[in-house]
């Protein structure tokens, strides 16, 4: 008798734990409410299903940001230079250069540079944004543009015409030191990054 209660308690615990894990709502949960009023409310039997593995996409942070928030973000300590890339799932050249940026981030993250991705997709395209980022192997938090286009464009950089993709490199004080519109390749990303690092004051 004791063994059965223990097993059921364990099953109940696993079921509750599984419910608490985010992003698993697409998986049919074994912990459905039981008919009848007797406790425990979860009846799983002897073979409890383990919690579904957490996919990176389900916990990927994509924060809404306007231009002012991005300008603040690039000033946050933690890197000597910050590269901001504005892209969108619907922008073919953006998608084409994206893997190079992911590669750049990996190569330079321990050398004083960080990369911030800002999607210019519409809010209702968030699932597509998530899927693309996950596909590209991005696990760090990124951003999605919010609010009026013109305000966003001008807050980031008045010289930017709004064309995508656009890349901005800021020094450790959050000052813009490099900027271009249009697709780039790894060689260009790296040479621009190097130039920015040279210009960037070393942190105290």
């Amino acid at each position: 008798m004791t063994r059965l209660i223990r097993r059921r308690a364990l099953a109940a615990f696993v079921a509750v734990a599984a419910l608490a894990v985010p992003g698993c709502s697409s998986q049919p949960q074994s912990a459905s409410p039981a008919t009848g009023g007797a406790a425990p409310s979860v009846v799983l039997g002897d073979t409890a299903r383990p919690a579904a593995p957490i996919s990176p996409a389900s916990v990927l942070q994509i924060r809404p940001a306007d231009g002012a928030m991005m300008r603040t973000a690039v000033r946050e300590p933690g890197a000597r230079v910050t590269l901001v890339n504005v892209w969108a799932t619907w922008c073919a050249p953006c998608r084409e250069e994206f893997p190079e940026l992911v590669r750049l981030e990996r190569a330079w993250r321990d050398r004083g540079a960080r990369v911030m991705f800002v999607s210019a997709d519409f809010d209702d395209q968030l699932p597509a944004v998530r899927a693309f980022l996950s596909e590209q192997g991005v696990t760090a938090p990124s951003w999605i543009k919010t609010g009026d286009d013109m305000a966003f464009i001008n807050a980031i950089e008045p010289r930017w015409t709004g064309a995508l993709p656009a890349t901005f490199i800021y020094d450790s004080r959050g000052e813009l030191v490099r900027f271009w519109e249009g697709k780039a390749d790894y060689a260009k990303f790296e040479s621009e990054l190097r130039a920015a690092l040279e210009q960037s004051p070393k942190p105290l």
Binding site: A88, W90, C91, A92, P93, A120, F122, K145, D148, D149, M150, F152, I153, N154, R159, W160, T161, G162, A163, L164, P165, L176, V177, R178, F179, W180, E181, G182, K183, E192, A195, Q199
Partner: protein
């Protein structure tokens, strides 16, 4: 060497560093110079192949009241979101004495949806009453400093640029537009009045310039 003599070169370096940095930055900034307000129509005589098969020049299309040039294309999702509004505004402007032309400067090798054949179909689908023409070298777009699609340039009766920018403030939802920038600019020009908001921006696809 006396310590004081070291200061002069040091001061020079400190003074020149920001200038050097700015020069480097300015060189690296590859956004072309946008056409300033008051400018004349660039490359007005350049021949462009319109969807009806004719070679046209913007100079031949100027209207009594003004001229509207919109760089757009078939493939860009933002151009697609705005295209029926561009058609409406353009068709109406033409009726009011403003010459109108839509120009596709994209290299169709980048996206075949931007081919001439597709342009012919799209013009028909949209019911364009004004020419939709291909900038076969992308150089006309370069001359305007145009960088994205769609991007509008409105010239007044004397051929001076009085509006440069986007269609309105809401690509996604025509019903939720609060600022119909281009429509208001066209209204002003048709009435011979000052354009209320002369320069605007929006996000859009970069123009796919042909490689030289």
């Amino acid at each position: 060497m006396k310590p004081r003599t070291l200061w002069t070169p040091l001061l020079l370096v400190v003074a020149l560093a920001p200038i050097a940095a700015f020069a480097a930055f300015a060189e690296e900034n590859s956004a072309p110079e946008p056409l300033v307000l008051g400018s004349a129509i660039p490359m007005a005589d350049a021949k462009l192949k319109a969807v009806d098969g004719k070679q046209i020049a913007v100079a031949d299309l100027t209207g009594k009241k003004g001229t509207l040039v919109v760089f757009t294309c078939n493939a860009c999702p933002w151009a697609k979101m705005w295209e029926s509004r561009i058609a409406l505004i353009g068709n109406a402007a033409q009726k009011r004495g403003i010459g109108v032309v839509a120009i596709n400067a994209n290299d169709p090798n980048v996206n075949s949806e931007d081919s001439y054949a597709e342009m012919v179909k799209r013009a028909k689908k949209l019911g364009l009453k004004f020419p939709y023409a291909m900038d076969g070298t992308s150089q006309v777009a370069v001359a305007y400093g145009a960088t994205r699609t769609p991007e509008a340039f409105l010239f007044d009766a004397s051929g001076k640029l009085v509006y440069h920018g986007t269609i309105d403030d809401n690509a996604k939802d025509a019903g939720a537009v609060k600022q119909p920038y281009l429509r208001e600019a066209v209204d002003a020009v048709a009435a011979g009045k000052t354009v209320p908001i002369a320069e605007t921006k929006s996000l859009g696809c970069g123009i796919k310039f042909r490689k030289a």
